[in-house]
């Protein structure tokens, strides 16, 4: 194709190739030497920016979720190995909001049950449900929505006796650390020109957000505020972490996520505005073993681990609310 101007063409191509290899090597080395993701609950956000009086319920918040104290952490510590006859692989279809905590869950599970391994498929619960309904293989299903769990139970995918509530989460509003939209309170979300990121209504976090906004409109603000907020939505993401990403990149002025996402993020990534409990929506997560599972022993081990003090502690460390 390209006429070969010998030395110049070949040199250019070799140079491009060397640059690519160097970049790949740098990325590889950086990945190998980086430490594990954060496992401590981060401290409070920097001092609140606003001092708004009345009608708004809260100024910018400090912490949102219960902080695990060192004393509590000491009582659980590292799980002691329990040897069970099942040495299996668990495929866990898990709600995307557990993305941050999943590596810790995997390593602690494998410490507690040596010989067992877990692989997470993390996606919006609605996507996972569709996959299971269309024949995808999974051992354990961790759902962020009671209604999706009930649907799957009704359709006969769950071993109903193994379905248990796991943990819970409230909704919170996060802002980029630089607060480009100058949002001081929930009322400011309706200001013209504010860019809000939200989950699609099929995502459990999206249904929760819609409910929260309706509650706020009824109790504190009005229907106009509610419709103005929806007019400010620039994107309906298909999973909860995607909203957090848009906010952390500074592309959205505000986003509705779970409190766990805010609590588990490194310090100073986000600012947050809490939503009063009476208007908030407590999302309950459930865990259950699916009928189609073939590693029932390992799946039972995994469910035991998740419901045990160690699993609950890991979740708590990453900002989930124990039930």
């Amino acid at each position: 194709m390209i006429p070969m101007k010998q030395s110049l063409t070949k040199t250019s191509l070799i140079l491009i190739g060397i640059v690519c290899v160097l970049l790949l090597a740098t990325a590889f080395l950086a990945g190998c030497t980086s430490t594990a993701p954060q496992s401590q609950t981060p401290a409070a956000t920097p001092a609140p920016v606003s001092a708004t009086p009345a009608p708004t319920p809260q100024p910018l918040v400090t912490t949102a979720a219960p902080v695990s104290t060192p004393a509590v952490a000491a009582t659980t510590g590292t799980p002691k190995p329990t040897f069970t006859p099942s040495q299996g692989n668990v495929v866990a279809y898990t709600a995307a909001s557990l993305s941050g905590v999943s590596p810790k869950l995997a390593s602690d599970f494998e410490k507690m049950y040596p010989g067992d391994q877990v692989v997470f498929n993390l996606d919006g619960t609605q996507a996972l449900k569709t996959q299971v309904e269309n024949g995808a293989y999974a051992d354990v299903f961790i759902s962020a929505s009671n209604s999706y769990t009930n649907m799957l139970k009704g359709e006969g995918y769950f071993v109903n006796s193994t379905v248990h509530p796991l943990t819970s989460n409230y909704v919170i509003v996060i802002l980029p650390a630089s607060n480009p939209g100058n949002i001081q309170s929930l009322a400011d979300l309706a200001n013209p020109g504010v860019k809000i990121a939200m989950e699609d209504k099929s995502v459990p976090a999206g249904t929760a957000t819609v409910a929260v906004l309706a509650n706020l409109a009824k109790s504190t603000y009005n229907a106009d505020w509610n419709s103005s907020v929806f007019k400010n939505v620039v994107t309906y993401e298909t999973s909860e972490p995607a909203v957090a990403t848009k906010v952390s990149l500074g592309e959205a002025d505000a986003g509705f996520v779970y409190e766990s996402t805010y609590t588990a993020a490194p310090k100073n990534t986000y600012l947050a505005i809490t939503i009063p409990k009476k208007d908030n929506y407590l999302q309950t997560y459930t865990i259950g073993i699916l009928k189609g599972s073939t590693s029932t022993g390992a799946s039972a081990d995994f469910e035991n681990f998740m419901l045990s003090a160690f699993g609950e502690q890991d979740l708590k460390d990453y900002g989930f609310r124990p039930l």
């Binding site: 194709m1 390209i2 101007k5 110049l8 063409t9 250019s12 191509l13 491009i16 919006g124 609605q126 996507a127 449900k129 569709t130 980029p176 480009p180 860019k195 990121a197 699609d200 209504k201 099929s202 939505v233 620039v234 994107t235 309906y236 993401e237 298909t238 848009k246 990149l249 500074g250 592309e251």
Partner: protein, 273 residues
């Protein structure tokens, strides 16, 4: 498998025909059966009632609108670019050649992240646009930019290859007869390469129409503004199966329509890049 030599003379032709038939059938079925399954999964009344669903119609209109504009930009800018690129030699030509092919191998989601980090409100270039009051990310413009980025290689490679293989004698004859370079290009080169360029344009349009990863990353997902058909299928499949299937079928019909139209319009055999 018997080695060819041991098949008796009289059966050799039959065996060849059967083997060839099997090959053609398996490839055809592999491509055709998933399409057929789409049509069979939904009932006609459900399909037609979904057609009036506002989410379906807005996604359809938005997809066609953005893909046509993307195609227009790629053709208007890409044709002269490909011509100049093949006729002139300039420093860094090899690098530009590589860059043209880059979006082909780059995962679309990566392209989306790259565009967001550059043109987003907090981006390297986007922050200046934002100061001037122009927002790029999360707009229909972002959809068009994402489509152009991922789909342009199809047209550019085709145009490049056509202009390279074009017999210079035609152009030189025109020049000796007094035509300017521009007139030569418009009157001689372009009409003779039009068939191949149309083929490249079809591939570009198809790729732009089906773009998902870069769109959802850079433009977001907002019905009526940035929710193109592939995004609507993805979201629809999880909440409303009927609308997801309807949009998928519409995409298939549109794709088939384009291909048939091109076959009818172009009479020549076309070389592909």
């Amino acid at each position: 498998m018997k080695p060819a030599g041991s098949i008796p003379e009289q059966y050799r032709r039959t065996v060849t025909y059967i083997a060839a038939g099997f090959l053609i059938l398996s490839v055809t079925l592999y491509l055709a059966l998933p399409i057929a399954a789409l049509f069979l999964r939904i009932t006609p009344d459900l399909f037609f009632s979904s057609l009036s669903d506002p989410q379906v119609t807005s996604a359809l209109w938005l997809s066609l609108f953005t893909s046509v504009i993307s195609l227009g930009v790629v053709i208007l800018v890409g044709t002269p670019f490909a011509y100049v690129h093949t006729r002139c030699s300039y420093p860094g030509k090899v690098l530009v050649d590589t860059l043209i092919d880059l979006p082909l191998v780059l995962p679309p989601a990566v392209a989306g992240v790259a565009l967001l980090v550059l043109y987003g409100r907090a981006g390297l270039v986007g922050r200046y646009f934002s100061m001037a009051g122009i927002s790029i990310a999360f707009t229909t413009l972002a959809v068009i930019m994402a489509q152009i980025f991922v789909a342009s290689p199809f047209y550019l490679r085709q145009a490049k290859s056509l202009f390279e293989q074009f017999d210079l004698a035609y152009e030189q004859t025109a020049r000796t007869l007094g035509a300017s370079p521009l007139r030569t290009f418009l009157a001689i080169t372009l009409p003779l390469t039009a068939g191949g360029l149309v083929s490249g344009a079809v591939m570009t349009f198809g790729r732009a129409l089906g773009e998902f990863g870069a769109t959802i990353m850079f433009a977001g997902n907002l019905p009526g503004v940035t929710q193109t058909m592939p995004l609507a299928v993805y979201v629809g499949m999880e909440s409303n199966l009927a609308s997801g299937l309807t949009i998928s079928i519409l995409l298939v019909i549109i794709s088939f329509g384009i291909m048939i139209a091109v076959r009818l319009l172009s009479s020549k055999e076309v070389q592909h890049a």
